[in-house]
Subunit: 235 residues, 2 copies
């Protein structure tokens, strides 16, 4: 937790917040801060700045906050991600949030195991939890949107064209001959398949909608490696 | 496991191997292969190719192998990595091996917790296990070397200059003003600090030896994210 993320309901005065949940426990137990210490804070979907501890009790702390800077710029990438194995999904959401992705569609694909869609991790609350941890890591405040799309075809045919419009649309495909571009200016839509990749029909759907099928080499990477590798190469 | 990694002692004939360990279990239990199936195989530190299952018994399988291709090219990067938390180290070694890094120095730094050096994961056998998993993922056969350097100063002063010689030496530092280069040709030495970063004295040591202190933006990323993000950006 490099930044303490505040919400409107933490405020007990114009510039004073009171925390008693895991954020308090982190400050008291892990950072071992004391009154007078200055911490990085940010308002959810708002500015970032600093908070000075004015009171540290056994069950809560109070901070006077000055929020005077913008959070880091979002990454101009919309991610279309074949739903990964739940254990991996947690890490991937964390990574995507940390790197500044603000829109993530979790979509179905032939090689996505049906059981993945039943994971309790897909509840709004659990998704939000992972994204918050990612924001706190990156000192960001802008909560990404995550959208579940459990049917491939209606999503690919009805929604993807609108999402991709005005962006550079790319589908990651280890067998592609085109090399993934670098340092792209402008917005990007990036589709990443499941372990084992998208099946040929799915790749064809993307190509039919103007996507470029691109590769970063013949090595087969895990999805949790592909996400930071591609984002960092593209932006 | 996208490739079955063979060693010389698996051979029972000129082109025939016999497997009865976790590789056998993977083929029989997870891939559910049967006689006649063709699998990707590679010889440790040697060529890659295909193996055809000629016999699948309850406790072992035999393959006739044809190894006629080179493994993917190594990444021209030597990694100097402040020893991460053991849980993260596992994933980072896996990722580095998958992406093709062939030399990894695990070094000390002020913000490395002393207890990390006592992790059983640092035994030769356990390190090798993670690296093998990474190679199998990437269909690679060239085993990376991992070197433990539990003293910062002697390593930084006596060894690093020799390692960095003839390479582009970079130290990742979120506060750096210089942006990390992209698509570098030639060899690279890349130093990555612990969570919280290298301390100023350590950064100065690297700079005194000709390293460029570089950043990929103001977001603070976890080491396990920084490694694939930087490797993919540089190579």
């Amino acid at each position: 937790m490099n930044l303490i993320l505040l919400s409107e309901r933490d405020y007990i005065g114009a510039n004073t917040v009171r925390l008693s949940d895991r954020r308090f426990q982190h400050v008291a137990g892990i950072l071992r801060s004391s009154a007078g210490d200055v911490l990085s804070v940010g308002l959810l979907n708002g500015p970032v700045g600093q908070g000075t501890i004015t009171r540290l009790a056994a069950d809560a702390l109070e901070l006077v906050v000055v929020l005077d800077r913008q959070p880091p710029a979002p990454l101009p990438v919309t991610l279309l991600l074949a739903l990964p194995r739940p254990k991996m999904l947690r890490r991937i959401l964390f990574t995507a949030a940390t790197m500044g992705v603000k829109k993530i569609y979790l979509m179905n694909a032939a090689r996505v195991e049906k059981s993945f869609w039943k994971s309790p991790l897909l509840s709004e609350e659990r998704l939000r939890e992972q994204l918050m941890l990612g924001l706190e890591q990156a000192e960001d405040t802008l909560m990404p949107g995550v959208f579940l799309r459990p049917l491939f075809r209606p999503f690919a045919e009805d929604e993807v064209p609108g999402i991709a419009k005005g962006t550079l649309p790319l589908v990651a495909h280890p067998a592609a001959e085109e090399s993934c571009p670098r340092d792209v200016s402008g917005r990007i839509t990036l589709a990443i398949g499941p372990e084992g990749g998208f099946v040929p029909y799915e790749i064809e759907c993307f190509i039919a909608e103007g996507f470029h099928s691109v590769s970063i080499g013949r090595r087969l990477l895990r999805v949790e490696t592909v996400v930071p590798a591609l984002l960092s190469r593209l932006c």
